[in-house]
Symmetry: C2
Subunit: 309 residues, 2 copies
């Protein structure tokens, strides 16, 4: 099964307490695709400018990411510049140059329109809707967004939410979208908007999944070195959707398992700048960390017989 992702391919300039890098490969679709490529074929739809380096095209191709949907147009590639403080939870955006991304109108190549798994990375919800109108009938549509769209295009976003199966946002976005400080109530309100499965990312605190019937709580991998958090959310989504597409199991059990694989991928990604850690990651390391998650969350529960006073 292959996955279609529509989002950004970008250059990032990132400053963390541990170092500083200029114009490194980034973008939501880049992180998503690279992460998903460990599990599934990926078709990428995005736009870059004339400055987009051949080495980065070659890298994505080397991950078996299909780039027929990557359009190159006159101008410069989307460029984001940000800084993280010691807590590494929230990026401070220093500069955003949309460049060629400003006039991005996603055109889904004909050979991609029958995609079974679709991820709408964080772009204008009106463009996310245009993507939906170009695909036939995906088995699973997952979607991300950000505070900017929640505030500026609430109507368009609500229409998207009604049409997606899995909505993946962070804690602050869940509170903002629902207008509800309590996260459990916030989740219920968002489910009421028409989402079947809501995944709330909480950074170093892990992930919560709500589907109306039950709640799944996954911790984050306890990292000693968070080098650069950029792309963690998209890397999570890539591992999550990649695993779903690989197994085809979209039951609650399958979704829980995919959340762990997504969490594992994100935990690797933040260990280095850009996609550097994923570039040297092998599947054995992924399996080892999945086993770590299982061990880290294990407890006996209620004994089969007898109970304390």
């Amino acid at each position: 099964m292959s996955i279609l992702v529509v989002g950004s391919v970008a250059y990032d300039s990132v400053e963390t307490p541990f170092g500083k890098e200029e114009r490194i490969l980034g973008g939501s679709a880049t992180y998503f695709s690279t992460s998903a490529s460990f599990f599934s074929d990926v078709n990428l739809v995005a736009v870059v400018g004339e400055d987009f380096a051949q080495e980065h095209v070659d890298f994505l191709s080397s991950r078996a990411i299909d780039l027929r949907g990557l359009t190159r147009v006159p101008g410069e590639t989307f460029h984001w510049k940000g800084r993280y403080g010691y807590d590494l939870n929230e990026a401070q955006t220093l500069e955003t140059h949309l460049n060629v991304f400003e006039s991005f109108r996603p055109q889904i190549p004909a050979e991609y329109t029958a995609a079974d798994y679709l991820f709408l990375a964080n772009i204008d919800p009106e463009l996310q809707m245009e993507v939906l109108s170009q695909v036939s009938r995906p088995r699973v549509v997952a979607c991300d967004t950000m505070n900017f769209w929640i505030a500026s295009k609430p109507e368009a976003l609500r229409k998207i939410i009604e049409r997606v199966d899995i909505f993946i946002i962070n804690e602050g976005e869940a509170r903002q979208l629902s207008g509800e400080p309590n996260l459990v109530k916030a989740a219920r309100r968002i489910l009421d908007m028409g989402v079947k499965t809501l995944i709330i990312k909480r950074g170093e605190y892990g992930v919560l999944m709500f589907n109306g019937a039950s709640v799944f709580a996954a911790p984050a991998y306890p990292l000693e070195e968070v080098f650069d958090p950029t792309g963690a959310g998209d890397t999570f989504a890539g591992g999550f959707m990649g695993y779903l597409a690989n197994t085809g199991d979209v039951s609650e059990e399958g979704i829980r398992q995919a959340i762990i694989f997504g969490s594992v991928m994100a935990s690797f990604n933040v260990e280095d700048f850009s996609l550097n850690r994923l570039k040297r990651l092998d599947y054995g390391e992924i399996e080892e960390r999945v086993r770590y998650f299982k061990a880290m969350t294990h407890f006996q529960g209620l004994p089969a017989a007898g109970s304390p006073k």
Copy 2:
């Protein structure tokens, strides 16, 4: 097995977005004892003033808490006044009247000195040391502290840390004590100070346990209504120590299980002011919520045979 706890019995005046209560029963030893009493006998050592109401003595007695160590002296009972905002994570202290607690010098009754399980609630580490010098050889000593003692009595606190088996603090305290923003590194530094088991409370994000060999991550129960967070940490510790004392299983497996029972007790406590929720709690509800925790954290892990590409 019985537990000995030394800490505060207090009156609290609490304001939350959901209501306001004056001079309600509180204090670290009160929350701890009541929670632990669901699992084990508890011997309480604390001090109250002449204003401490008989109904509160009666309540503690009704929970089979042994009060021979509860001293009544001239003056008023410790009184804390605080307020919580909508995020309910951090209390804003409005007033602290130590009153009779100011000159508290814990005297452990002779019949308590052979205690197998000892909890040193958050009091001056020099007093915690005095308690340790009065007990013979407890099987498990657990201890709490707070930012004030970390800053004002670091030497005395370090001596306590060397002598306890289980140190239970919150995330901010772990960072403050270790001088390390990364929580995994902070935990390692605290273990290096001589603690065998470190439990870090993260409020609505759950609990992390470190012991040098492994990490255990427990989520918090996803509550729709957090009415009053006062006493959550001590209620956690009470459920945790109560369960340990009940089963006698202080293996890592036993400690993990006890963390879940502690988390369950804390999740009930915050559903109402003071100890009101624990007053009407029955053991069946505790078991039901333990099962919920098990279901909430379940995922398959790596399949026995075969793995994704």
